[in-house]
């Protein structure tokens, strides 16, 4: 797969210009600036840099820096990936280089996969370049190594998913401009749109939402499962002995965490077993396994790295405390449907409101449920979207019919 000709050519082309360097520099500059700013806001303002700080406060500082850097890293990835990838196939079309490529023995799939991987190669460069910042916040304390890995894992997954979606957009439309608008549209819709919808739903319900500290009645969290920020919040907020800290360390994920919190509490406490969040758990949870496995088999073949990478990361995130769930009946329909995987979780969630939490009951022993329903649903949806995009792009390239007359 590394031998993919498209990938190799892309790497040669991309890395030989100065553009890559400038993007990397700007990106690192921004993250360092954020690091510095957050550190000062949290530590320097009150105590001064040279004064000994209490360990709990240090932990808060480290935690705060970690969350802010992660937050901006996600935003940057969401901002950069569509911009860097939208020309992937539409650009070849515009430069009239797609036909010479299609007339070779390259399969549509390897063209698409090469493009996605080329985009990811740059993404991994960005992530690796930011690792020192994470190690610094790790050194300061307040976070576990597991959390750092999980956080980065989410960034990687988000990058992969949006790279796939953007390549899909790029393959479907004719012009780079349209592809760029389309893929930024997807980002805006999933990041901002879902929040707005969630808030609007809250207003309609008449219940306080993002600004409220805690409330039993929420709009259905399903709205947010397509949101990578919500997913990140859900993943990094799973540390049970991390109380919601005061004003001194306002986390960028705090509002989202409040939304996701009740779902988790339902799982751990086992108090109210019939919340809307728990419902998503039973309906969607079992689908994770087959959706990934079936998808990679049916859509783009077993040798494709995209689902492989995704699966590994899912396992890595899961691995800290695996939750027993059976990958059987519900999921198989989702996996079998392949291309429509994205529609799977949504409909399942919608049509099974009465079900009670299976996994919640299983893990109510006090151990942290590291893989709660929301995360699972979100991961399924995102990976489903990514696979569907790659599949769509391959279909689009299969019938050339590009010849302009």
């Amino acid at each position: 797969m590394i031998r993919n000709p498209v990938l190799q050519r892309e790497l040669r082309e991309r890395m030989s210009g100065s553009r890559a360097m400038w993007i990397l520099t700007g990106y690192l500059g921004l993250l360092v600036g954020i690091f510095y700013f957050v550190y000062h806001a949290q530590a320097g303002a009150q105590t001064g840099l040279d004064i000994v700080i209490a360990p709990t406060e240090v932990a808060q500082i480290g935690r705060g820096i970690f969350e802010w850097v992660l937050f901006f890293m996600l935003l940057l990835v969401l901002f950069l990936v569509p911009g860097l990838t939208s020309g992937a196939i539409a650009g070849e079309r515009e430069r009239q280089t797609l036909i010479p490529m299609q007339v070779t023995l390259l399969t549509p799939r390897s063209i698409v996969v090469g493009k996605v991987m080329a985009s990811l190669a740059f993404l991994f460069l960005l992530i690796v370049a930011a690792l020192p910042l994470f190690s610094l916040s790790y050194l300061i304390g307040g976070i576990d190594l597991i959390q750092v890995i999980e956080g980065l894992g989410i960034v990687v997954i988000t990058g992969i998913v949006y790279a796939c979606i953007t390549v899909g957009c790029s393959a479907v439309v004719k012009r780079v401009q349209t592809a760029t608008v389309l893929s930024y549209g997807v980002v805006l819709l999933t990041v901002m749109g879902t929040f707005l919808l969630y808030t609007a739903a809250g207003l309609v319900d008449g219940t306080p939402t993002l600004s409220a500290t805690s409330s039993s009645a929420h709009p259905p969290a399903v709205i947010l499962i397509a949101n990578p920020l919500a997913l990140t919040a859900a993943v990094i907020a799973r540390d049970p002995d991390q109380p919601d800290t005061g004003a001194r360390s306002i986390s960028p994920f705090a509002p989202i965490r409040r939304v996701v919190e009740p779902l988790r509490r339902d799982g751990t406490g086992g108090g109210s077993g019939s919340g809307s969040g728990t419902t998503t758990g039973t309906a969607v949870g079992p689908a994770v396994g087959p959706a990934v496995g079936g998808g990679s088999g049916g859509l783009i073949g077993g040798d494709v790295p995209v689902p492989a990478v995704a699966t590994t990361i899912v396992v890595a995130v899961d691995g800290s405390a695996p939750v027993p769930f059976s990958a059987t009946s519900d999921g198989s329909t989702l996996g079998a449907r392949g291309g429509a995987a994205n529609a799977g979780p949504g409909t399942t969630v919608g049509t099974a409101p009465g079900a009670t939490s299976g996994s919640g009951g299983g893990s109510s022993s006090g151990l942290a449920p590291t893989f709660d329903p929301f995360i699972r649903a979100s991961l399924v949806l995102m990976i489903g979207l990514a696979l569907a995009s790659v599949w769509l792009a391959s279909i689009r390239l299969r019938i050339p019919a590009e010849v302009e007359r």
Partner: protein, 319 residues
């Protein structure tokens, strides 16, 4: 990247290939390199190709001539498996384009009329990409690329950036790209368009060389004089139909009819004579010279050859 200099050309040469074929190229396969029967391609309500019957024997250089919009590019795209015909059959190198487009791609080299070129890529990297795309093993690539660069006379430009090449060089690079997998049939869409006379002569020599290697070439153009000297077979196409096809001499023979000769005299006067064939033309010349009353300065056939024929055919004056 040290060049291993010796027998690169032989990689392209089917004679060096110990496969079937033996003495002069590949005689074992079907006699026709390209065959279409009642080929139709419609884009919505537009008929790009109507009932096209084309037969190109192996080893020929076939020139497809027609005005813009005649359906040449569409026909070539179908033959290169890039377009699915609306109806009819197209068989290239013994393979139906509809049955097995992949096999067609393995046997056909296609050069589109527009040269798309990558930024930030060297000539050798460009060719290596296409070699890899045609599943040519990594170990064989350097020798292959050396051979191709030598064939198209770009050896000195090996590490030049692709987008810095002149148009003629890009054209030759594009040709090298379409030869990467040693195809039996080469389909070149408007290869000479936009080339200066020198580059055109180079291209012609290159095509002769490829023909000598036993390849079948299909070349299109809307300028007939480009093809007249390099093609062994010519087809004239208009509005999706093939009007005439055959060897250039044959076509001329068939449509000769009215040949005109223009004679200019030393006193500034000129006159035109209609002649039927070479014998009559010769007789006319002898008569004028023997007569001697007026000194002949110029004696030339007007609009001779295919150029005029082409204009007349595409005007619809010949059917």
């Amino acid at each position: 990247m040290t060049s291993t200099s010796l027998p690169e050309i032989e990689l392209l040469d089917p004679i060096a290939d110990p496969g079937p074929g033996g003495d002069r190229g590949r005689d074992d396969g079907p006699p026709l390199a390209v065959e279409t029967t009642a080929l139709v391609k419609r884009y919505g309500s537009v008929h790009a190709v109507r009932e096209l019957d084309l037969a190109v024997p192996r080893g020929e250089v076939f020139g497809l001539i027609g005005p813009n919009g005649a359906g040449k590019t569409t026909t070539f795209s179908i033959l290169a498996s890039l377009l699915i015909p609306t109806s009819g059959r197209a068989v290239v190198a013994g393979v139906d384009v509809r049955d097995d487009p992949r096999d067609v791609r393995a046997k056909v080299g296609y050069m589109p009329d527009i040269l798309g070129v990558y930024d930030n890529l060297q000539v050798d990297e460009y060719l290596r990409f296409f070699a890899a795309s045609y599943r040519i093993r990594r170990a064989e690539q350097p020798a292959l690329i050396d051979g191709l660069l030598e064939l198209v006379d770009l050896t000195g430009k090996r590490t030049a950036m692709v987008n810095s090449l002149s148009r003629g060089m890009k054209q030759r690079l594009s040709l090298a790209r379409s030869l990467v997998h040693d195809p039996e049939v080469l389909i070149l869409d408007e290869p000479a368009s936009g080339l200066d006379p020198r580059a055109r002569v180079d291209l012609r020599e290159l095509l002769h060389e490829l023909q000598a290697m036993g390849k079948t070439l299909l070349v299109s153009s809307h300028i007939l004089s480009e093809l007249e000297e390099m093609c062994t077979q010519i087809g004239i196409m208009e509005a999706g139909r093939l009007l005439v096809a055959g060897a250039p001499d044959e076509i001329l023979e068939r449509f000769h009819g009215t040949r005109r000769v223009r004679v200019r005299f030393a006193d500034g006067t000129a006159e035109e004579h209609a002649v039927a064939d070479d014998a009559e033309q010769q007789a006319l010349l002898r008569r004028l010279v023997v007569d001697g009353s007026r000194d002949v300065v110029e004696f030339a056939e007007i609009g001779g050859g295919l150029e005029e024929l082409f204009l007349r055919i595409t005007e619809g004056t010949v059917t």
